[in-house]
């Protein structure tokens, strides 16, 4: 008989305390079933534009297979700066105000590690991307939820924000257009938030990875307002706009002091983002805007289709201004979001993500991604309609 000589658990308290992502749980459930139509995917259904793949292949052929500078290829950083200036009117210096990261995910991680001391509070506007709270905890900070609600279409209201600010609040994480709600903020609405941020001397991490996927109005970044650049870390990446999720490439831009601190951490932990991916990204920024526009057009049509279809079957659903998610309320069915998602999966083989995994305020809703072909969306809506009729909607 084998006897264990292990007398203790080797896991850190941090690792033990970390909650597994609710998305993971749902993935395990859905991936065991056959013939599922998935509205659960948070990534484009388009493949990366071929010329971007080609540029990456070409970089390999030319032998660019070593490390790049820690902050990323200067050529790529320069292109990112041009892009941010041209598109969103943001001004950065490619030399010391931009770093290229392994996805927006890593940018969020290094940013938090660069700014947080143990016990610092970070406001997380919920419902939101599942990684924020965990990343704050991993960096030693304390995540504090700021719930938004369906009544205000999940926009962040200045009062909601101000209520949660304490002595210990150091930063706030924003994400518009939002995952999972698709909510966008207008220039005026953001300006009001910026005023509170300045009044309380906070830092802002703004995750604008869905900026290109804005359907109603031009995207506005909070970094653009007076006095905001010096207190904003702008985070984005190539995953969503250019359909490059697997490339793991993102970036952060901000005041030199913070970016240089991030660079130290990045340099010790990652060295640099993958070189071949950086060459692909360079091509994407230089010549990929037509591809983006084509994809955006198609997303907008599908969003319209999905929102109208939800309204038709009797579920309340606001028209989101961006990203590729709709976030209808399922309260009329009398089910919790988790029950709804599980039963829908078992009874009709449609995968959606229960809203509660995205934090406070997400309960009573489901996230449906429309990064799926129109024919699948049509079939999914037939099935969801059949499902909700059973629950007397």
């Amino acid at each position: 008989m084998k006897t264990s000589t292990m007398k203790r658990s080797y896991l850190s308290e941090t690792a033990k305390k970390l909650k597994p992502s609710g998305i993971r749980k749902f993935f395990d459930l859905a991936s065991q079933m056959e013939g599922v139509i998935s509205l659960g995917v948070g990534e484009p259904d388009f493949v990366t534009p071929w010329h971007v793949c080609e540029a990456s292949l070409d970089s390999l052929e030319r032998g660019y297979t070593g490390y790049t500078s820690n902050a990323g290829l200067l050529e790529l950083r320069t292109e990112i700066v041009k892009y941010l200036q041209g598109k969103f009117n943001l001004t950065y210096d490619a030399e010391d105000e931009v770093i290229v990261t392994v996805g927006a995910s890593q940018a969020i991680d290094v940013a938090l590690r660069a700014i947080l001391d143990s016990g610092d509070e970070v406001l997380v506007v919920e419902p939101c991307f599942v990684a924020y709270s965990a990343s704050v905890s991993l960096a030693g900070g304390v995540p504090v939820a700021v719930p938004t609600s369906a009544e205000s279409e999940f926009k962040l209201l200045p009062e909601q924000l101000e209520q949660k600010i304490t002595e210990k609040t150091k930063a706030i994480i924003l994400c518009f257009p939002n995952n999972p709600t698709g909510t966008t903020m207008s220039e005026q609405e953001l300006d009001n938030v910026a005023d509170i941020v300045k009044k309380h001397d906070l830092l802002v991490l703004t995750d604008e990875i869905y900026a290109e996927l804005s359907y109603n109005e031009e995207h506005v970044s909070i970094a653009r307002f007076n006095g905001m650049k010096e207190r904003t870390i702008y985070i984005s990446g190539f995953s969503k706009a250019f359909a490059m999720t697997g490339w793991r490439l993102g970036y952060a831009a901000g005041p030199a002091e913070i970016i240089q601190a991030m660079l130290k951490i990045h340099q010790y932990t990652i060295m640099c983002a993958p070189t071949m991916a950086q060459y692909g990204a360079l091509e994407a920024l230089k010549t990929g805007m037509d591809d983006v526009n084509e994809m955006v057009k198609s997303y907008r049509q599908r969003r319209n289709f999905l929102v109208k279809s939800f309204q038709e079957i009797g579920l309340d659903c606001h028209l989101p201004g961006g990203a590729f998610y709709v976030f209808p309320s399922i309260k009329k069915t009398g089910l919790t979001s988790e029950q709804f998602a599980e039963r829908l999966l078992h009874e009709e083989k449609v995968a959606v993500v229960p809203g509660n995994v995205f934090g406070e305020g997400g309960e009573g809703h489901i996230r449906c991604s429309y990064a799926t072909s129109l024919s699948e969306l049509q079939e999914a809506m037939n099935r969801i309609g059949r499902f909700t009729r059973k629950y007397a909607v």
Binding site: F27, V41, E43, D45, F129, N179, Q301, R302, N304, F305
Partner: protein, 164 residues
């Protein structure tokens, strides 16, 4: 033409079978508005026909034979190339005719049951037209992409079923 009409055409060009109700939702218009737009587009000959792109190699044993023929012609005074093009495109086996720049003048795409049938068409119908100076026939061996449609698409969705 307004943006939504252009968008409608783009959608229909890719897939002519999307139900009117779906089109209405996608473009945020009423069903009647879509119907009216489509009717007008058809009346104005902007939408000329609806058809399916078929991979015949999968549908029937002996596939059709397709050839592209480069044709040199002497243009006629007053009517240029139009007259000879018209004489050619009226043949039912001719699927497409284009006026080209470069070393030849007309590109004629024809479809037949057998190679012999195409050979006969070239020898007896095409080359005997007065203004035709020469023809060069190329047979198509395999269709990879036609009218923007890839014939053996790798359709499998490689994404995981649920992701952040």
């Amino acid at each position: 033409m307004d943006n939504k009409t252009v968008e409608l055409l783009e959608i229909l060009e890719k897939n002519g079978r999307i139900p009117i109700e779906t089109l209405a939702k996608m473009l945020d218009l009423k069903v009647e508005e879509i119907e009216r737009k489509i009717k007008t587009l058809e009346e104005k000959n902007i939408i000329l026909s609806y058809s399916a792109v078929v991979d015949w190699s999968k549908a029937i044993e002996d596939e059709k034979v397709t050839a592209v023929i480069d044709v040199k012609v002497t243009p006629k005074r007053g009517v240029g190339f139009n007259e000879v093009a018209e004489r050619i495109y009226r043949f039912p086996e001719v699927k497409a005719v284009y006026l080209m720049s470069g070393t030849y003048d007309l590109s004629v795409h024809i479809e037949g049951k057998t190679m012999a049938q195409i050979a006969r068409f070239v020898a007896e119908k095409l080359s005997t037209i007065d203004s035709v100076i020469s023809t060069t026939t190329h047979f198509m061996l395999k269709k990879y992409k036609h009218d923007g449609v890839i014939f053996e698409p790798k359709k499998e969705d490689k994404r995981i079923v649920v992701s952040p």
